[in-house]
Amino acid sequence: MKAAAFDYAKPTALSDALSLLEQGGDDARLIAGGQTLLATLNMRLSEPSILIDITDVAELKGISVVGNKLRIGALVTHTEIEDSDLVAKHAPLLKAAAPHIAHRAIRNLGTWGGSLAYGDPAAEWPACSLTLQATMVIHGPSGERKISAKDFFIDLYTTSLEPDEILVATEIPLATANQVFYFHELARRHGDYAVAGLAAVAEKQGSVLNNCVFTFFSVSSTPVMAVAAQDVVNGQVINDQVIAKAVEAAREEIDAIADITNSAAAKTHLIGVLLERGLKHLVV
């Protein structure tokens, strides 16, 4: 199908983008990579009156280390993350996750910030940002505010971003030497949205894991942390008994939601499969 008619503006300053967004109100949409938006326009699921193309706004670009944080600009593409040495060194989880995002032609355009702001519970970056305890840097008419990933994802496709605000960047604590990471998703075709996925981090001392974060995605209306399973694992030597307990806890605590092809029971089962694989991987 073809998109309905709309106007198009391409500001170069963040302040201009914010003014256009305010003027446009509900009928305006920001476009960065547009890899979700263009599909919804083509199918006429969305009919904005104006697209505000923010890809020339310099403040939204680039990956850098600022103090003890890795700063990833909202406009950074999935490919840039996939190919970045800074990301590989300071946020290996993102490096591991990137190849799972759609396909290269889509990763070349789709952006970090777009994925976070869209808040798709099946997407990789919301889950990763939650796992890495990222902070969202947001600009709006009243200036800058920061919010943790934990408080950013509210519900299905719903974040705490206000309609007149723009996600500028994300700050992620740098990976430490004893941290280990795991990312995996189960999909029908490589690059499709996951039926279920797991993004995990832990501090490893010998075969003991501490400060674990296990975030499951594509199983609920937001990415969701398996807190009870984390408590089971923290401070323990990982063996079959601990794995079985953690799997049971994760399946118990996460209220999985069915999608069009997979039942809630199937997703609950896969949560355990992923966690078992993840724990075995983390202690190797």
Partner: protein, 169 residues
């Protein structure tokens, strides 16, 4: 509301100026306005990869990219890349393996494969399959397509060229 925007871009080495509606995606512009029939439209939602073209040196989905977004860019389609010889060994290999069937998906497959060979010259057969999974072949020609790409990777690694199936005049 101004419905048309002026754009200027380089398409297959030629400067193109046009006035187009912002809603017009790049492949419609290439096909309908510039009469380039290499990029195809399949699903128009990013799933099939038939619309794959290169913008500023990297492959993109031409159905998920607006012509206005290409203003100031360098756009390359299978026509331009065939002429430049950039895809020559892949095209020979596709012919050698009969890796095209109806040919509808071939232009997208070739462009996707070319980026794989550039970015991951040591890709395994499994990685070729994962990479090319973004492009649908409705005739299920995948096996021959993967064979063709793997042959080019192996030939490149050995510094060899793919031998033509038919001798060129």
């Amino acid at each position: 509301m101004s419905l048309k925007k002026k754009v200027s871009m380089t398409v297959n080495g030629v400067t193109v100026n046009a006035e187009i509606e912002p809603r017009r995606h790049l492949v419609d512009f290439l096909r309908e306005d510039l009469h380039l029939k290499g990029p195809h439209l399949g699903c128009e939602q990013g799933a099939c990869g038939a619309c794959t073209v290169k913008v500023d040196g990297q492959i993109i989905r031409g159905c998920l990219f607006l012509t206005v977004q290409a203003d100031g860019s360098v756009v390359e389609t299978v026509e331009g890349l065939t002429k430049s010889g950039a895809l020559a060994d892949l095209q020979e290999s596709f012919m050698r393996h009969n890796a095209m069937q109806c040919g509808f998906c071939s232009s997208g497959m070739l462009l996707a494969a070319a980026e794989l060979i550039e970015k991951q010259p040591k890709a395994s057969r499994e990685e070729v399959r994962e990479w090319i999974s973004g492009n649908y072949c409705r005739c299920t020609g995948y096996h021959a397509i993967v064979d063709a790409i793997v042959d080019v990777l192996e030939a490149r690694a050995k510094g060899q060229k793919i031998k033509p199936v038919v001798a060129h005049a």
